[in-house]
Amino acid sequence: MGNGLGILGTKVGMTQLFDADKRAVVPVTVIHAEPNVVLKRFTQDNDGYGSVQVAYGDKRPTRTNRPDAGQYAKASEAAGKAVSPKKVIREWRLDGDPSDDLSIGSEVTVERFDGVKFVDVSGTSKGKGYQGVMKKYNFKGFVRSHGTHEFFRHGGSIGTRLTPGHVLKGKKMPGQMGNVRVTTQNLRLHGVDAAKNLLFIVGAVPGHKGSVIEIRPATKK
């Protein structure tokens, strides 16, 4: 539960840019982050902790249920302009009460990342399906010769005998790989394009193209 306000965006894909200073090619992931709209504020007095709830990604109004529509109507009223219903809602925990510029209906844009050098990125990793231990955990498998048969990609023994008499919890075994929430920390932010609502992050970012990604200033840098 990192503290601090981030932004929700969509992973567009990767490309490369030229860094004039370092005279090098920089591999970047492009994140498209349309302004996130503040839907709700949580304060110390009222809720016991400070946070803001933001919404991102337009969806059709017909896909919105009545309670949600009410929230968007409230935000529209506070902002003085129409706030269309959004696909994703997320709450960002803050150190104190939300500052005044985060009023209901206000927008969180990529401009907040101006001057930020490193970011943490969270998303849902690409699903790899049901995988064996060699792909999933980099087990070595078995020798291919010396009489081995039908036992090439197995994980080997999974435990001992009467003591403890059961397989230890957390034993690495085949199963679903990927499609889980992953956070990558301390990725360098190459730049911000405020006009186009784009962020350029050096290196790879979890998730497939088009998936919704959370970006926040790095907590450890």
């Binding site: 567009v12 490309t15 840019l17 030229f18 005279r23 090619v25 492009v30 186009k196 193209k209």
Partner: protein
């Protein structure tokens, strides 16, 4: 490719068109080199042994033999450090990747010049 990425790549591409030289051509690549605070242009002359054609991310591999040692450099042709690429002559080749030149040395590593070749057109 997404329209957003296509836009970004179009912006990183050089404004001036790049000559459409081919594998087998001998070219002079003018590279900006930074030495301390000073910047100068160094020329790398060699044979184009292959293109990696990918729009703004295109690279070209140039090979030369320097003091008996084969040297290959891969140039991102849209990089700002590449000032320009000068075409010298065309060699007669029959394939797109001339990796076989790596295994040849001396007289065998020469390419027949195409005499009547015209300078390549601009993109």
């Amino acid at each position: 490719m997404s329209a957003i990425i296509a836009d970004i790549e179009a912006a990183t591409m050089k404004a001036a068109p790049v000559p459409r030289f081919r594998p087998g051509d001998t070219v002079k690549v003018h590279v900006r080199i930074k030495e301390g605070a000073k910047e100068r242009v160094q020329i790398f002359e060699g044979v184009v042994i292959g293109w990696n054609a990918a729009g703004a991310r295109s690279t070209v591999t140039v090979r030369k033999v320097s003091y008996g040692v084969g040297v290959e450099r891969i140039f991102p042709i849209h990089s700002p450090t590449i000032e320009r690429i000068e075409w010298v002559r065309r060699g007669r080749v029959r394939r797109a990747k001339l990796y076989y030149l790596r295994n040849l040395r001396g007289k065998k590593a020469r390419l027949t010049e195409v005499r009547e070749a015209k300078a390549p057109t601009l993109d």
